[in-house]
Symmetry: C2
Subunit: 356 residues, 2 copies
C-alpha cells in the first residue's frame, strides 16, 4: 500500500480567461466532462483507497476539493495559506504521511495532468512504489514523442534493476526546458525522458533529503510538527508557511540528491500546460480549426476557439487562440500561448485583478 499525494495548488494562469484565481485549471473539465482534479483522484482511488489520498491545495480551494471529491476524508485535505512551490507542499505532505506511518511510500501526483492509458499508468506507478521501498527517490519519466520545448528532460544513466517488471535507470541529469535544436537532439538520442513531475518515495526518505538539501524548509516543517501538526493546531501553518523557502522539489532536492532513479513510462501523458496542448484532445476540422460553440469560420485556418454557448463569426484568421468566458475575452496567436500569463499580470497591474 502507498499514499497518493495530489498537488492541486496551481493557478493555471496560462488558461486565462477560463482559469481564474477562483477556479484554476485543475478544477476545470478541460480534457473531459470531469475536472482534471477529479480525474486524478479517480485514477488512483482503486489502487490506494480514498483514505490514503492526500490533497495539498491552496487554502481557498479546500472546499472546492472537498466538493469535487467528497469521498476523501476532510483531514486528508491540507490547505496551504500561501503558495511556496512544490518543495514545501511535498514536505508538508510527507510530514503528514510520516505522522501516520514513517515507513509509508507516497506518490506525488500533480492534479492537472492528462493521462490516456490509466491501466498502464498504474502499472508504472506500482513499479515506482516498489523501487521507492529501496529508499530511492523515484521519478516517472515519459518517453518523448516529439521535440517538446515546454518540458524539462531527464538524462537516463545506467540501468538500476527491474521493479514490477519495469526497468529503472539511474538519473544522470535533470535539464531545463530546451530550445528546439536541443529538444531535437534529446529526442534523437533516445537517452532523454520528459520530466513528468510525478515522484515516488518514502516519507522518511524525502524528509531526510529535505533536511540535507533545504535545511531551512526542514526547520519549518519541524516547527509545524512540534506544534502538533496542522490539524491539531490550524494556526501553525499561517504562522510558519509564509517564511518557508520557495523552491521546486526538482531544483531543491532532485538535482542534488544521488539516490535518484527514473522509470520510463508510456501511458499517454501531457501536462496540458497551455491552450495549445488542449488541441490534442479535440478533433480539428479540415481547416485545422477547433470550435467550441456555434458559428462560421470563413477563410480561417488552424484556429482554436473556445466559446461554448456563443455564436462566433470569423474571417481570414490563421493560427489564433480565441477564448470567450463570462465577460472575458482572450485573443492570442498559438505560438505565443506561453505569454498568456503576462495578460493576467498586466490586468492586475491595471487594477483589473478581479478578472484574473
Amino acid at each position: 500500500m502507498f499514499y497518493a499525494v495530489i498537488i492541486a495548488g496551481g493557478r493555471g494562469e496560462r488558461f486565462w480567461p477560463l482559469s481564474r484565481a477562483a477556479r484554476p485549471k485543475q478544477f476545470l473539465g478541460l480534457t473531459g466532462k470531469k475536472t482534471m482534479f477529479r480525474q486524478t483522484v479517480e485514477r488512483v482511488a482503486g489502487a490506494v483507497g480514498f483514505d490514503r489520498i492526500l490533497v495539498i491545495t491552496a487554502g481557498e480551494f479546500s472546499s472546492l476539493v472537498a466538493s469535487q471529491a467528497p469521498e476523501i476524508p476532510p483531514e486528508n485535505i491540507l490547505g496551504e495559506p500561501v503558495g511556496r512551490d512544490t518543495a514545501a507542499a511535498i514536505g508538508l505532505a510527507a510530514l503528514e504521511v510520516a505522522s501516520r506511518d514513517p515507513e509509508a511510500v507516497l506518490a506525488v501526483l500533480p492534479a492537472d495532468h492528462y493521462i490516456n492509458r490509466e491501466d498502464r499508468f498504474l502499472e508504472v506507478l506500482q513499479g515506482a512504489v516498489e523501487a521507492a521501498r529501496g529508499d530511492f527517490l523515484v521519478t516517472l519519466g515519459i518517453t518523448p514523442t516529439r521535440p517538446e520545448t515546454g518540458y524539462g528532460y531527464i538524462l537516463k544513466g545506467d540501468p538500476a534493476g527491474s521493479f514490477g517488471g519495469l526497468g529503472a535507470f539511474r538519473v544522470e541529469r535533470f535539464t531545463e526546458k530546451p530550445d528546439l535544436e536541443r529538444a531535437l537532439e534529446f529526442l534523437g538520442s533516445g537517452r532523454y525522458l520528459w520530466n513528468s513531475g510525478m515522484f515516488v518515495w518514502r516519507a522518511g526518505v524525502i524528509l531526510n533529503c529535505i533536511k540535507q538539501y533545504i535545511p531551512e524548509l526542514h526547520r519549518g516543517l519541524r516547527e509545524i510538527a512540534a506544534a502538533g501538526g496542522c490539524h491539531s493546531n490550524p494556526g501553525v501553518l499561517d504562522r510558519v508557511y509564509p517564511s518557508l523557502p520557495k523552491l521546486s522539489i526538482d531544483y531543491g532536492v532532485m538535482e542534488k540528491a544521488g539516490n535518484t532513479l527514473v522509470i520510463p513510462g508510456d501511458f499517454g501523458w501531457d501536462d496540458v500546460g497551455s491552450w495549445t496542448a488542449l488541441e490534442g484532445y479535440l478533433q480539428p476540422d479540415r481547416q485545422g480549426n477547433v470550435l467550441s460553440g456555434r458559428g462560421v469560420l470563413l477563410d480561417t485556418r488552424n484556429t482554436f476557439i473556445h466559446a461554448p454557448g456563443r455564436t462566433v463569426g470569423t474571417i481570414g484568421l490563421t493560427g489564433l487562440i480565441v477564448v470567450v468566458d463570462g465577460d472575458c475575452v482572450l485573443i492570442c496567436p498559438k505560438d505565443r500561448a506561453q505569454e498568456i500569463k503576462k495578460i493576467t499580470s498586466a490586468l492586475q497591474g491595471e487594477g483589473l485583478g478581479e478578472a484574473t
Copy 2:
C-alpha cells in the same frame, strides 16, 4: 416648406454582431449617444417640423421608430412588409406626400449617415429644395476628401445655376464604386463627387419618372393608391409590395433621367458603412488601437475592439476588428470588413439565423 423622408429600412449587416435583424445600424448609437436614426430626425426637425417628417422602414421596426421619435405622427411612419430596395420605398413615400400635396418637395435622407456640420448641411438642403422646385431631380454630392473605394461617384457636368447661393451642376454620369486606381483619378480630377444617396425632388416629378423608367413599380403604386393608400387599407401593402421590382433609385431612375442636378456639399458626411468607418469618430491610442471595454492589449496595433463591459486580453494582434456583443463574437481583419455580411448569410445558411 418641404417633406423629409427618412429611409430607415436597412439591415446594416456589415455591423454584425452589434447590428442584428431586430436592431439594425440606424437604431444604434454608433457615432454618439443618440441613435443614428434619432440624429437624422433631429437634424431636420427644426427645418420641416415633425409633422412633415415621413419615415419608411421595415414593418417590424415601426414600433422602434415610434419609440425613438415619438414626436412624429403615427401616420407618417410607413412600414414595408418586405424590403424592395430604395426605388419602391421612395415611390411609396412620394405617393404619400403627393396625397397630401402633389406640388410638395420631398428630401430623401438615409437614416444611417453621419453628418458633422449640421448647419452647413441644412443650407445645402435648402438650396437643393429650391432647385427641386424647378422640377429637377436633385442629388447631394459630397466633395471627396480621400480616394474612397466604398462609395459611388457622380461626374459633374455643366454649371446649372445657383440655388440658395449654392452652385448646382448637371449630372454627367453616375459611376459604381471604383477600384483604388480609378478612385485616385476621380479625386485628382476635381470633377467627381461622392454619391451621398440623398435626393430632393417634387413628389409629382419623381412619380412621373418612376412611371417612365420603372412602369411596373408605378403600376404597383397606382394599385396601392386605388385601394385608398396604405393607411385606409393596411392589407394592400402586404398584397402588392412583394411583387414590386427590387431596384435602387440610382439604377432605376437617376442613371436614366435627363433632368438631374447635383449640388456639391462639404458638411462632413460619412455613410458609416462598416466598422472601419467608425474609427473616424473614436480616438485611437498611440498604438492605433481603439478599445471600448477594459483590458490589456499586449504587442497589439491598429486593432479596433468593441466589447463594452468586458475584459479583453490580447497578444500580438495587428489590424483586426473584434466585436463582442451579447453572445456573439466577431473577429475579422480591417481590410475585410466589407465581407462581414458574408458571416450573417453563412449563419443563416447554418440554421443560426437567430444570431443575425
